[in-house]
C-alpha cells in the first residue's frame, strides 16, 4: 500500500553543512504491516517519516500510497491518508484549544472546512466515549485546554486524533520517548490496541530494541540514510536483542559494545 522508490534527501545542499540524510531508500509496505524502525542517532529515521508525511519534498525518487503518486503533494493534502504522532508531545496538539476542539479538528482531516459549527453535540458524546478507554479521566474534561495536560495525556490524545479518522498509514516518531517509563508503557499499549483494532498500516520509530522486537510484524534497521536490515514473520518473532546487536555490527561500520547507542 505504501511504495517508496529510491528517494534521496540532502539538507543544506552546497554548504559546509551539507548532509545526506536519505540516500537511495526504497521500501514497500503491505496492507496491515506494523513496522518498527530502529537505527542510531542521525540514521535518517525521522527524515524518512517526514518525507512520507510531506514536511518537505524529496530531492528525487517516488512515493506512492495505494498506487497514488504523492511525491509532489503538499503536507496538508497527504494528511487525508496519514495520521501522525510526533516525538515532542507539544507538537501534535493545539495547546490553546480544548480537548474536544482538537478532536474535532482531527476528525475533519481530509475534508473541506466550511462555515458549519466546528463541533456538534453528537460529536461531543462520541469523543467522551473514545476517551474513556484511555483511563486518563479525559472524558470529563472535554473543555479543558490541552496545554494544561501532562505529556503522556497529550500523547495519548494525539494518538487518538491520529487514528480518529482511520488513516491509511500511521506514522509514529519515538512518540513515547519524552514520557516516563510507566506512562510510556501505557501509551505504547494503547498504540498497540488501536493499531490492532483498525488493522492500521504503521511505521513506528523507537529507540527501545525490546519494544521494536515485541511490537509489530516487521522490523527495519536504518543506517546512514538506508535500510540495512528488514526482518519479518517468524524470523522477527524469534529475534533477540543480542542477535540484533550482532547484525548491526556486521552490517554497519560502527561497532556497538552493547545496545547503548540504539537505546540512548
Amino acid at each position: 500500500m505504501l511504495k517508496i522508490s529510491n528517494i534521496f534527501k540532502t539538507f543544506n545542499k552546497g554548504t559546509v553543512n551539507e548532509k545526506v540524510a536519505i540516500s537511495g531508500l526504497s521500501l514497500t509496505l503491505n496492507d496491515g504491516d506494523f513496522v518498527t524502525v530502529i537505527g542510531s542517532n542521525g540514521a535518517g529515521k525521522s527524515t524518512l517519516l517526514n518525507a512520507i508525511a510531506g514536511t518537505w519534498l524529496t530531492d528525487s525518487g517516488k512515493i506512492e500510497i495505494d498506487d497514488i503518486d504523492i511525491t509532489r503533494l503538499p503536507e496538508h493534502k497527504r494528511a487525508s491518508y496519514i495520521g501522525r504522532v510526533f516525538q515532542d508531545p507539544l507538537m501534535g496538539t493545539a495547546s490553546d484549544m480544548w480537548i474536544e476542539e482538537n478532536l474535532a479538528l482531527a476528525s475533519r482531516r481530509g475534508q473541506k472546512r466550511h462555515l458549519l459549527p466546528g463541533i456538534t453535540k453528537a460529536e461531543r458524546t462520541h469523543y467522551a466515549e473514545l476517551l474513556k478507554p484511555l483511563n486518563l479521566g479525559l472524558e470529563n474534561r472535554l473543555t479543558t485546554k490541552v496545554g494544561l495536560l501532562s505529556g503522556g495525556q497529550r500523547q495519548a490524545l494525539t494518538l487518538l486524533m491520529a487514528t480518529i479518522k482511520k488513516p491509511r498509514l500511521l506514522l509514529l516518531d519515538e512518540h513515547t520517548a519524552a514520557l516516563d517509563p510507566a506512562t510510556a508503557d501505557k501509551v505504547l499499549s494503547v498504540t498497540d490496541e488501536l493499531v490492532r483494532r483498525d488493522n492500521l498500516t504503521t511505521l513506528m520509530i523507537t529507540h527501545n530494541m525490546q519494544d521494536a522486537i515485541d511490537y509489530g510484524n516487521r522490523l527495519i534497521m536504518m543506517n546512514e540514510g538506508r535500510i540495512i536490515l528488514d526482518i519479518s514473520g517468524q524470523e522477527k518473532k524469534q529475534l533477540t536483542k543480542q542477535q540484533l546487536i550482532d547484525r548491526f555490527n556486521s552490517l554497519s561500520d560502527q561497532k556497538l559494545e552493547s545496545d547503548n547507542v540504539l537505546l540512548s
Partner: protein, 280 residues
C-alpha cells in the same frame, strides 16, 4: 472614538492573537478604509454601503499581504510593511491627490459624527456588539477553528489536513477588512479622510488589546471565554482613548503624544510579567 479604536483592535486581534503574527498592513488599510468611505459618499453612495466597500477593499489589502507571504515566502512583517507603504500612494490616489478630504455632516447623512455624540456612542456600541457576536460565531466554525489551530500550532494544523497558507490568508484578509471598516467609521466620525489617519494604528490596536487583556485578567480569572476577551478589546480601546484624553488635558505637548502612546503600551505589556513575578 474609543469604541472605534476598539473595533479596529478587534481586527488586529485576529492576526496578533489568533494567528499570532504581526501584521503592519493595518497602518495603511485603516487610512484606505477612511479614504474609500469618504470618496464613495462624496459621489453619492450611502454611508452604510460605503462602509461595506471599505471592508471589501480592506479584505483585498490583507489578501495582497497574504499572497506576498504565502506565495512568495516573504516574512509577514516585511510583506505587510511593503503593502503598507504601497497603500500610502494608493490612498493618495483614492483621495485624488489631496492629503485630506472632508465631508460635511450637514450635507451628507453620516452614520456617526462628533456633532451628535450620544447617537454615535449608541451606533458604535451596537456595531461593536454585532461584530463580537459574528467573530464569536465565526471562530467556532470549522473554518474559524482551523485558523485558530494554524496560529496555535502550524505543524499540528498541517498534519490534520489544514492548508495553513489558506488560513493565514483568510486571517490577514479579515483583519484588514475589519480595520478598513473601522477606518471608514473613523472618517465619518471626524468628517474627513486623511492619508495619515492610519499612522500608528497597529500600536493603538495593540494598546487596546493589551489593556483589555490585563483588565480582563484582573476582573475575571485567566482562561475566560472568547466573547469576554473580545468585549474587553473594545473596553481596552475606550480606556486607551480616555488615557489619551487625560494626557492632552494635562496640557502635554501634542507632539509628544506618540511618545506617551509608546510608553503606555510598554507599561501594559510589562504588567502581566510583573504580576507573574517574572520581571527583572
Amino acid at each position: 472614538m474609543g469604541i472605534l479604536y476598539g473595533i479596529m483592535a478587534l481586527g488586529i486581534y485576529i492576526t496578533f492573537r489568533v494567528l499570532k503574527v504581526s501584521d503592519l498592513t493595518v497602518d495603511g488599510s485603516f487610512a484606505t478604509g477612511g479614504a474609500v468611505s469618504v470618496m464613495l459618499m462624496l459621489s453619492g453612495v450611502s454611508p452604510i454601503l460605503s462602509l461595506l466597500c471599505a471592508f471589501a477593499v480592506g479584505l483585498l489589502c490583507g489578501t495582497v499581504t497574504g499572497l506576498l507571504h504565502t506565495k512568495l515566502s516573504i516574512p509577514i512583517i516585511l510583506s505587510s510593511i511593503l503593502v503598507q507603504i504601497g497603500l500610502y500612494s494608493i490612498n493618495l490616489r483614492i483621495l485624488q491627490g489631496s492629503a485630506l478630504k472632508s465631508i460635511s455632516v450637514d450635507k451628507y447623512p453620516l452614520l456617526i459624527n462628533v456633532r451628535f455624540v450620544s447617537r454615535t456612542i449608541l451606533i458604535g456600541a451596537l456595531i461593536a456588539l454585532a461584530l463580537i457576536a459574528v467573530l464569536y460565531w465565526y471562530f467556532g466554525t470549522e473554518q474559524g477553528c482551523s485558523i485558530r489551530a494554524t496560529g496555535n500550532n502550524p505543524a499540528m494544523a498541517k498534519s490534520n489536513g489544514i492548508n495553513t497558507s489558506t488560513t493565514t490568508l483568510i486571517g490577514l484578509a479579515l483583519c484588514n477588512g475589519l480595520v478598513a471598516f473601522a477606518g471608514g467609521l473613523m472618517s465619518q466620525y471626524q468628517g474627513f479622510a486623511d492619508v495619515n489617519q492610519g499612522r500608528g494604528a497597529i500600536v493603538t490596536g495593540l494598546a487596546a488589546i493589551i489593556i483589555g487583556e490585563v483588565l480582563c485578567d484582573i476582573f475575571f480569572k485567566k482562561g475566560s471565554s472568547f466573547w469576554l476577551r473580545l468585549t474587553f478589546v473594545i473596553i481596552g480601546g475606550i480606556i486607551y482613548y480616555l488615557i489619551m484624553v487625560l494626557i492632552l488635558w494635562m496640557r502635554v505637548d501634542s507632539n509628544d503624544l506618540k511618545l506617551f502612546t509608546a510608553l503606555i503600551v510598554a507599561i501594559f505589556l510589562a504588567i502581566p510579567n510583573f504580576r507573574k513575578g517574572a520581571a527583572v
